[in-house]
């Protein structure tokens, strides 16, 4: 697949995402925050970091950048958009995903590996993950506590929009396994149309055994498989 990775001032996982995608055999390029089009990309990744210094609120300023207007159009046309960490915060601020991410319950920046349970396999981002398989992926954030009001949470559940949840190594959704205090151990969600998703953990940091694991590949492989199956050939 051909992926555009957005680069905001303050992004710091953009190169990691490009690297991870390339070693997996995909084509990936950086997309500057002032660009007004996502070009011929099959998918867009909004990477982690501290876009615009995270001033005001995480992701609050980034949502107004020209490239985000292009991402909104791309998403509205059904394009795949994945927000990772700060990217997840940006997508929530932009209204492309429901809810918001607030300060961790512990007030600490949490930098550790977590286990992710795939709560719904029915999405382009999780379709390739075997049911019951836990993904061991690192988190690194200070504001990753997912919040949405009760009504929104009920709607997310009813529509199977919760894609990933923090779990113990046995796959239990315990409080101990929740690194930030997220409602219902939510680590990532998708929109109603299921083509936009965001998660706090960093799959792009878990794509090579040499750096401690390659479980993150499952998410990118799901996207690629979904695109191969569903992508309409572009008119010549």
């Amino acid at each position: 697949m051909n992926v555009a990775v957005i680069q905001f001032p303050g992004s710091n996982c953009d190169q990691d995402a490009v690297h991870a995608l390339r070693i997996m055999g995909h084509s990936a390029r950086l997309l500057w925050h002032k660009d007004e089009s996502v070009g011929d990309a099959d998918a867009v990744i909004v990477p982690g970091g501290f876009s615009y210094g995270d001033y005001l609120r995480c992701g609050a300023i980034a949502r107004f950048s020209p490239v985000m207007q292009a991402v909104k159009t791309f998403a509205a046309e059904g394009g795949l958009v994945l927000g990772i960490c700060n990217g997840f915060q940006v997508l929530c601020e932009a209204g492309l995903l429901p809810g918001a991410l607030v300060r961790n319950r512990s007030l600490q920046f949490r930098c550790e590996h977590v286990y992710l349970k795939t709560a719904s396999g029915d999405s382009p981002f999780t379709g390739g993950v075997d049911a019951g398989r836990l993904l061991r992926i690192p988190v690194a954030h200070g504001e990753g506590c997912y919040f949405a009001d009760e009504e929104t949470i009920a709607a997310l559940k009813a529509n199977n929009q919760i894609l990933w949840q923090y779990a113990s190594s046995e796959g239990e959704l315990t409080d101990d396994a929740n690194p930030n205090g997220s409602v219902d151990n939510i680590a990532g969600v998708c929109n109603e149309a299921r083509n936009v998703a965001g998660l706090m953990p960093h799959p792009e940091r878990a794509c090579e055994e040499i750096i401690g694991g390659a479980d993150g590949r499952a998410i990118f492989e799901s996207m690629a498989a979904w695109l191969t199956k569903n992508k309409q050939p572009k008119a010549a």
Partner: protein, 128 residues
């Protein structure tokens, strides 16, 4: 007196337009003048020109506020008694020019769209 008033009213439609125009140019000149001399205090003499929006943003009750909790614990630890829930928010001051009503609308919109996140925060503001 009323005749005189009426007379003025009927006769001077033109002069009223003139007055509005003059008033408008006086404002523009005033704006340039006060900006040039950088004396914001002067603007207070001219109502509806320059004001300060004081905005307070706080987390919604339902949202986990670990910062507030930590501050509350610290206050109790220091020996302050009777300390209840603490909420940590954000305070902004924005200097802004314009008609009061329009400014109020603008600030409200900015609070909703950018300065606060309605999913997790509440805001209130006053204009001075």
């Amino acid at each position: 007196m009323s005749a005189g008033y009426l007379q003025w009213d009927v006769k001077s439609a033109d002069s009223r337009v003139q007055f509005v125009k003059m008033h408008h140019s006086a404002r523009i000149i005033w704006r340039g003048f006060s900006a040039f001399f950088n004396i914001p205090a002067f603007s207070r003499l001219m109502p509806g020109l320059s004001m300060k929006a004081k905005i307070t943003i706080t987390p919604k009750k339902a949202v986990l506020d670990p910062q507030g909790k930590a501050v509350q614990n610290a206050l109790e630890h220091m020996g302050y008694t009777g300390v209840g829930d603490v909420h940590v928010g954000r305070y902004l001051e924005i200097e802004v020019e314009g008609e009061r009503e329009a400014v109020e609308k603008q600030i409200d919109e900015a609070c909703h769209k950018l300065l606060s996140n309605p999913v997790i925060e509440e805001y209130r503001f006053e204009l001075e």
